[in-house]
């Protein structure tokens, strides 16, 4: 019983991270029908910069805030200079290659600067564990899934009730029509990438106290975030959050009862099977091809 609760709670924590990353992919896909393949590295950047900031003597909250903002700026710049030149032509794969290239470069740079070692971010969230039915978790771990759900609700409210949120939905639906209605599509896309990257970097900062921060941490977390987006259906915001949390819990159980290697095999295996059975994802809507 205790083990079950333990696995569920730690699974929700890591699942919250996947949910935040997947939410970023959802936002980018909606805006541009393209995503930033360096999104995992945005997460890494957030975590690493937070640690570097604390090392430099900044107070923890300031360091975290700066790291998140830096992640957002990174996303905006990446969209402007690496993606936009290639998303103009239809069916271009250029943006995939350029964002992959930037991701590889950022990871290599971070390895050079940050070294091969990994370390956690000291945070009040992991000072002492709380006990729930005998299972010990850090408050930080409880915070992560809550943040993921709140961010999703916040995104929903923004899309429903603010001008920019409605503009985002308009662009997602039909870029050309949105532009004809006077929406600055480029600005909305840039905003979306910035927002997605803020969430990505925030996920990095949130996970930094729980797992080891290293230059290579982003690749796998980013990939799993995308896997979650595929499983849920990249078009559904609540879907990716639910799928993310479930995926995290599933991982912890597999890891606990079988092994870490089995975790990766089963996790990605599930993604391929879901894709086979539900091409649009579990919560995704079938996109009507406009002819």
């Amino acid at each position: 019983m205790t083990t079950t609760i333990q696995y569920t709670l730690s699974g929700l924590a890591i699942g919250g991270i996947y949910a935040l990353v997947a939410l970023g992919f959802h936002i980018m896909w909606s805006a541009a029908k393209a995503v930033n393949f360096a999104h995992g590295d945005t997460l890494m950047l957030g975590a690493v910069l937070a640690v570097v900031g604390v090392d430099a003597g900044l107070p923890m909250p300031i360091a975290c805030l700066l790291a998140i903002v830096a992640g957002g700026v990174f996303g905006v710049l990446l969209e402007r200079f690496a993606m936009r030149p290639f998303t103009v032509a239809a069916n271009s794969i250029g943006w995939m290659l350029t964002t992959i290239a930037v991701g590889v470069m950022i990871e290599a740079l971070a390895t050079l600067q940050f070294g091969g070692f990994s370390r956690p971010l000291a945070s009040p969230g992991v000072k002492s564990a709380v006990h729930i039915f005998g299972a010990g978790v850090y408050p930080q771990e409880l915070l992560i899934p809550a943040v993921a759900v709140l961010v999703m609700i916040g995104l929903r409210l923004m899309q429903r009730h603010t001008l920019i949120g409605r503009a985002m939905q308009a662009v997602a639906h039909d870029k050309r029509a949105a532009a004809l209605m006077g929406i600055n599509v480029n600005r909305i896309v840039a905003f979306s990438f910035g927002l997605a990257s803020l969430f990505g970097a925030a996920a990095g900062v949130l996970v930094a106290p729980v797992i080891q921060v290293s230059a290579s941490m982003g690749a796998l977390l980013g990939l799993k975030g995308f896997a979650v987006a595929i499983i849920a259906g990249i078009t559904s915001a609540p879907g990716v959050v639910i799928a993310g949390l479930c995926f995290g819990v599933m991982e912890k159980f597999v890891e606990g009862y079988i092994s870490t290697s089995a975790r990766e095999i089963i996790g990605f295996g599930v993604m391929i099977l879901v894709l086979l059975a539900f091409p649009q994802g579990l919560f995704g809507k079938r996109e009507v091809l406009k002819v």
Partner: protein, 595 residues
């Protein structure tokens, strides 16, 4: 130009023969053999990246899969190098299908992610399945390369690698210039148009990925024999990036580009060894630079420059073309192409775009479908051509139910269409566009394409002649070698008609073919449609231009607010009060009393 590719293969063969004679030591030869192995991966990956425009970041995983399969077959079952390669090819082909099919039918973008994940799965299975793979320590007692139990010398092994790469390059060149290469490029340009022409986009993308899996699998087996030791950590994500970079740097879609890219990226790390830490960064930076500075890659850029310098290819002589009478005419007894749509209803959310719309196109007639903007005409066309699924209703084509069939199957039944906003294969030449339309009439298969059998050549010549004839028919002969996207709009419309006709349809759907055309062009269009009808092809014409309809149509159906309000001969439609009301908002009688 015709001799450039054979000349390239000659030079390539000469280099492959010369290198072992000039190699000063074993290390040099071994490095060159490593290049040959990487070359195989790059040449195969080129089919996926260069032709279908998809990205795989899991080639290292497939390479590892092939390596382990080959090594295990050789160690456990005593397979020689040829049998081990075949075994590895079968295993990687199976995984290729498993990965590609579910992925590419949804979104091409997903393939990049699924392949990265596959690389991780392979790595972890290799670590976990210790009894078979030796876990993290890997496999170290891989036998020396042998064929039928005869041990190969270093040079003989080199010979096998060189011949394999040469043959693979040749086969994939053959694939590129066959119907498969052409339709793969077409799918990467417009999936919608491909489907409407009966081209199976999912099948072609899966095929491209499987080809790239097989080559990676074979290369993996050779690698296992060359290295005689493999472990999970040899095959990394950064290798996948490197393999992709080989294709992009050399020139995606070109015949020799990937080989050149593989050569550069095999030798470059040797020179960069002292900057080991910067090596990964360099791959990323190089990829970024290539994308901005040389997006066509080395060979692609050279070809582009060369094409601009030399005189343009002569356009094919229209006299060589097959006349449309020969290539399209049906026998009289086949004339029955009849389309009967019965009470079709299509709803989008709460909006009903079509409500119980019925229509009958009799065999051999020109039937016009008219109606004000938003009446549901395009919805109707998209529904019968299989792009939308109606909520209710039936639609039969010569007694065959169309509803529920995929658009590509409907196209293969003999129903061709054009698009309101043209959907050409922009980067293909005008002639290639029409030849892609002819695809469903070709019957040669993959092996015939790879080997360029006489049958393949015969069918290709026939296809080309029919396409040249069709271009003459629509008056585009002089533009045959232009890229379709550079044609002016009016000519793009004609090209779409030629492409649709290439499939030898029995019913042609023309979705607003006169929109945006000048009066002169509309007159030409009228003559063209009449000639098409004379060939015995039934036509459903969706149009606004009343003059055109009155001149051409045998029968007219009028849609308004998704409902059929009249269906009759043109003369009767012209005076039908409901039609006038739909178009002008008031009936004549009402207008007269008002006056």
């Amino acid at each position: 130009m015709r001799y450039l590719v054979p000349f390239g293969f000659l030079v390539f063969a000469a280099i492959l023969v010369a290198v072992p004679l000039m190699a000063s030591n074993e290390y040099e030869l071994r490095l060159f053999m490593l290049f040959l192995i990487y070359g195989m991966i790059a040449v195969g990956l080129n089919v996926l990246v260069g032709l279908t425009g998809l990205v795989s970041l899991g080639q290292a995983g497939l390479f590892a899969l092939g390596s382990y399969s080959g090594a295990i077959l050789a160690m456990r079952l005593g397979f020689d190098i040829v049998a081990a390669c075949l075994g590895a090819a079968v295993v990687s082909a199976a995984f290729g299908v498993l990965l590609a099919y579910p992925t590419v039918r949804v979104r091409g973008v997903y393939l990049a992610v699924v392949t990265i994940a596959f690389g991780i799965i392979v790595e972890n299975v290799a670590i976990e399945w210790q009894s078979l793979t030796g876990g993290t320590t890997g496999l170290s007692s891989i036998p020396k390369p042998n064929v039928f139990g005869v041990r190969l010398s270093g040079f003989a092994f080199y010979g096998i690698l060189a011949v394999t790469l040469f043959v693979l390059t040749l086969l994939i060149h053959n694939l590129k210039i066959s119907r498969f290469g052409r339709t793969m490029l077409a799918v990467s340009q417009s999936e919608t148009a491909s489907r409407a022409l009966g081209i199976n986009s999912t099948g072609l993308r899966t095929m491209a990925f499987v080809i790239s899996s097989i080559t990676a699998g074979i290369a993996g087996t050779f690698y296992a024999f060359l290295n005689s030791y493999i472990s999970p950590d040899i095959f990394t994500f950064s290798d996948s990036v490197r393999f992709l970079l080989m294709v992009i740097l050399g020139g995606a879609g070109s015949t020799f580009g990937p080989v050149i890219g593989a050569y550069l990226l095999t030798y470059l790390p040797e020179y960069l060894q002292q900057f080991q830490l910067w090596q990964k960064f360099a791959y990323g930076a190089l990829l970024l630079i290539v994308m901005f500075v040389l997006p066509r890659g080395i060979v692609g850029t050279l070809k582009y420059a060369f094409d601009r310098l030399r005189p343009a290819d002569p356009v094919p002589d229209a006299a060589d073309g097959m006349s449309v009478e020969n290539s399209l005419r049906y026998e009289k007894k086949m004339l029955a192409a009849e389309l009967v749509a019965t009470s079709l209803t299509v709803r989008f959310g709460g909006l009903s775009a079509l409500t119980k719309a019925s229509l009958r196109v009799k065999g051999g007639e020109i039937h016009a479908l008219i109606g004000p903007n938003g009446a549901g005409k395009s919805t109707f066309v998209n529904t019968i051509s299989g792009f939308y699924l109606p909520d209710e209703g039936r639609c039969e084509f010569d007694g065959v139910e169309l509803i529920g069939r995929r658009s590509l199957d409907i196209a293969r039944l003999g129903l061709a269409r054009t698009f309101q906003n043209t959907e050409l294969f922009g980067e293909l030449s005008v002639l290639q566009n029409v030849m892609a339309g002819y695809d469903q009439r070709l019957s040669y298969g993959l092996f015939q394409a790879l080997l360029r059998t006489p049958r393949m050549r015969r069918e290709e010549i026939e296809c080309r002649r029919a396409a040249v004839g069709l271009l003459a028919f629509v008056g585009l002969s002089q533009y045959a070698n232009e890229e379709a996207r550079f044609l002016p709009f009016g000519l793009q419309r004609r090209l779409e008609i030629a492409r649709a006709l290439a499939s030898k349809p029995r019913l042609l759907l023309l979705d607003e073919p006169a929109a945006g055309l000048t009066t002169q062009e509309i007159d030409d269009l009228e003559a063209m449609i009449r000639r098409i009808a004379e060939l015995g092809i039934s036509i459903l014409l969706i149009e606004h231009h009343v003059d055109l309809i009155m001149a051409l149509a045998d029968n007219v159906t009028v849609l308004d607010y998704g409902q059929v309000i009249a269906s009759d001969a043109p003369a009767a439609i012209q005076v039908d009060p409901r039609v006038i009301e739909a178009y002008f908002g008031t009936s004549i009688a009402h207008a007269e009393t008002a006056a």
